[in-house]
């Protein structure tokens, strides 16, 4: 069994076309996809420093001085063009995707900040351009941080003045000695517990799931799943070649046994899929940043990721045996690969995440293994979830594997 697997790996690694298709083509697709779609995730920009990003501000605290001060501060920012709208208008435009983001200032914002209570701004994005979203967030956070500091230093000086008023014998010479530690304490407080916080959110139109949408986080796992399942052809083509050249007869005439032989034919597919994932994810982590793109983040649960990769590899490998069983000619294998694998990949959300398209497509996509693979990767890599969140994906992928293997083995013709 291992002899068959090792021999097939040797043959595979001598096949340059197969290697390019399995390892380099996905990288090219990912880079082109990120470049064309503008989903690069920013990574620091495109050198267009004069470009001003539009930010709609909804001011629910029109009389508040702090709110006004915040808007003026944002307006002075070199890269932000501020426009004010009423909340209903802004929300409608956001849902209609006429605007990409809005900053909501709550009604009692100025009063809360003046009273030393934390005021929460709400930054709502419906853009997939994570780089710009982060730039806006940083700009807003920068302005609010200055405001927090200013507000708290003013508060510390007011405390000092109160102390002087409360104590007539207070020596003015000691005020400076007192002022410095008080100011330092307020500065620390402003850093640890800022008076103004910014909460990010997404509108309902971006889907039920709250996903941190990033081109790299979407593109790398999506295309990885697409190309992983394309390697299901490896098993089918390898078996077809063995039958065509007559080596299959030799294998059947050996004491190897039919089932060990078949499992031996499956192992290389499994190994290649695992290597593909490692290679593509490594490229996402190390190569994409060199090209000015975001680095891929692997999420918070590496053991769960390993488990998911193994489940996907098993599913893809057993799909290969099914294709080998139903496709009798090279043309049929190519046809099945082109039709089933690409169509399934599209339906399953490997090209475009299903939470970004309509609900019926998303429902249809659930009948594909690609959907569960992609969803599992998004849960781990993009949503930062753990094993519990992907148990359904793993379960469904193992179910697909069992179905593919049973039907493939049942329909497989050894003679």
């Amino acid at each position: 069994m291992l002899s068959v697997a090792w021999k097939d790996l040797l043959i595979l690694f001598k096949d340059r076309n197969a290697l390019v298709g399995a390892f380099l083509l996905p990288i090219v697709f990912i880079v082109v996809y990120l470049g064309v779609s503008g989903l690069s995730g920013g990574g620091g920009g495109d050198g267009d420093e004069t470009r001003r990003v539009s930010l709609v501000v909804v001011n629910n605290d029109p009389a508040g001085a702090t709110a006004r001060s915040l808007i003026e501060g944002l307006g002075r920012h070199a890269n932000i063009a501020v426009t004010e709208y009423g909340e209903a208008d802004a929300r409608a435009k956001l849902e209609a995707r006429e605007i990409e983001r809005m900053l909501v200032i709550p009604a009692a914002f100025s009063a809360d900040v003046a009273a030393g209570r934390q005021g929460a701004l709400r930054l709502v994005n419906n853009s997939l351009d994570r780089g710009t979203n982060e730039a806006i967030l940083m700009a807003v956070a920068g302005v609010t941080r200055q405001m927090s500091l200013e507000q708290q230093i003013v508060a510390s000086l007011e405390r000092l003045a109160d102390m002087q008023r409360a104590n007539p014998s207070f020596d003015p010479a000691t005020s400076a000695e007192l002022a410095v530690p008080i100011a330092r304490q307020q500065f620390e407080e402003s850093r640890d517990r800022p008076l103004v916080t910014v909460v990010q959110a997404q509108p309902a139109s971006l889907g039920k799931d709250r996903v941190e949408v990033s081109g790299v986080q979407i593109g790398v796992p999506g295309f990885a799943v697409l190309f992983i399942f394309l390697t299901a052809q490896i098993t089918a083509r390898s078996i077809y070649d063995e039958k065509r050249t007559g080596t299959f007869r030799r294998l059947l005439a050996s004491p190897l046994g039919k089932w060990p032989m078949l499992v031996g034919k499956l192992i290389p597919n499994f190994v290649v899929v695992v290597l593909q994932v490692v290679f593509l994810f490594a490229a996402g982590i190390f190569l994409l940043p060199l090209m000015g793109l975001d680095a891929l983040r692997l999420g918070n649960d590496i053991p769960a990721l390993v488990l998911l990769v193994l489940s996907v590899a098993l599913c893809c490998t057993t799909l290969g045996i099914l294709i080998a069983a139903i496709a009798r000619t090279e043309a049929q294998i190519g046809g099945v690969a082109a039709l089933v694998l690409w169509v399934l990949a599209f339906l399953g959300g490997a090209f475009i995440p299903l939470f970004l398209i309509n609900e019926s497509m998303a429902t249809l996509g659930q009948v594909t293994p690609h959907y569960w693979a992609v969803t599992g990767f998004y849960d781990l890599l993009t949503r930062g979830q753990g094993l519990a969140a992907i148990l359904d994906s793993i379960g469904v992928l193992l179910g697909f594997s069992a179905v593919f293997f049973v039907i493939g083995a049942w329909r497989f013709e050894f003679e």
């Binding site: 002899s3 040797l10 001598k14 050249t245 007559g246 007869r249 005439a253 050996s254 003679e415």
Partner: protein, 335 residues
């Protein structure tokens, strides 16, 4: 000594089609046994059943003392198969191919290494062993194809049409290899071919196979002796039963039968003598068996002249397996 192979009424059917319709024969230890028959006769299907590639519809066999159906692994270890196709991995070197085929028979380590070197020597390709098979000539590929069936030292080697598409030099090399394996290593061999010259050269005994059945099985000498003098094939512009009866009555003629209408001349011109002559209104090809072919031919031509019947072709088959096959089936081996 018990036979190395005892095939017992092997049958293989595909739906209504009977590929092998009950074949039984024995191969003695150290024997080169031939399966001779035209393409599609059932030779490869028979070999496929005996090597465990195909499951017989019915019947069984014992090879090396093991039952084909009950002890398939032992039977497969005793067998070596050299398929008709070039059953090799073209991108791998000859050595890598042989190592793989040794491993699947359980060879490992030094034993595997020694066996690979040995078979490379047998097929005289040691110096090219590390080149990819795809760079080999057709004849070299055939030789490695044989080596791959030998690497685990089988007791019984099945060679299925091993010289198809091979140049004369490589064919001779294959013949020498087969004879050396048999004589020097006492390897038993089942050799299938539709070339009677190869079977005559290599085999001790021959089973003639046609339409999935063995129609004759004996030593080559005995099979040829069936015919006596030989066979005359005569193309006539017309023939009837009275004429056939009259020819059978001629002193040197043992038998006269209609074979088939003469076929139109083929593009390949395989048998131009048989196709010569103008087309007749109701042509017929008759086969005349005789112990003294020349006398029989003189008598038959005299008879035809008396009756004013023209003949369109004449061919005398010397006594050989081709004429035996013609005698038994009314067909030529390579039709």
């Amino acid at each position: 000594m018990p036979p190395i192979l005892e095939a017992d009424n092997l049958v293989k059917t595909y739906g209504e089609h009977v590929a092998v319709g009950g074949i039984s024969f024995e191969v003695e230890e150290g024997e080169v046994f031939g399966l001779l028959g035209p393409n599609g006769a059932g030779k490869t299907t028979t070999i496929s059943m005996l090597t465990g590639v195909l499951e017989p519809t019915s019947g069984t066999a014992r090879i090396g003392g093991h039952d084909l159906l009950e002890e398939p692994a032992e039977v497969k270890r005793a067998n070596g198969l050299v398929p008709q196709d070039l059953a090799l991995y073209p991108t791998l070197s000859a050595r890598a191919n042989l190592q793989f085929f040794g491993r699947i028979y359980g060879l490992r380590g030094k034993e595997l290494k020694d066996r690979v070197e040995d078979v490379l020597e047998v097929v005289a390709l040691t110096d090219r062993a590390d080149e990819a098979i795809e760079k080999y000539s057709g004849g070299m590929k055939r030789r490695i194809n044989i080596a791959a069936g030998l690497v685990h030292q089988p007791r019984l080697l099945f060679l299925d049409e091993p010289t198809v598409g091979v140049d004369p030099q490589s064919r001779n090399h294959i013949f020498e290899s087969v004879l050396r394996l048999n004589r020097e290593r006492r390897m038993s061999i089942v050799y299938t071919s539709h070339y009677m010259e190869e079977v005559e050269l290599l085999c001790n005994r021959v089973a003639i196979v046609d339409q999935g059945r063995i129609i004759a099985l004996d030593t080559i000498a005995n099979l040829i002796a069936m015919l006596g003098g030989g066979v005359i094939e005569l193309g006539l512009e017309r023939v009837d039963d009275d004429m056939l009866a009259a020819m059978r009555a001629l002193p040197s003629v043992n038998g006269a039968n209609v074979v088939a209408p003469p076929a139109p001349a083929t593009a390949g011109g395989e048998e131009p003598a048989m196709r010569a002559g103008p087309a007749a209104p109701e042509p017929a090809l008759i086969k005349i068996e005789s112990k003294r072919s020349q006398d029989a031919l003189v008598q038959v031509i005299g008879y035809l002249n008396e009756r004013d019947i023209a003949f369109t072709s004449v061919k005398i088959f010397e006594p050989n397996l081709e004429s035996v096959f013609l005698h038994l089936t009314g067909k030529k081996l390579r039709e």
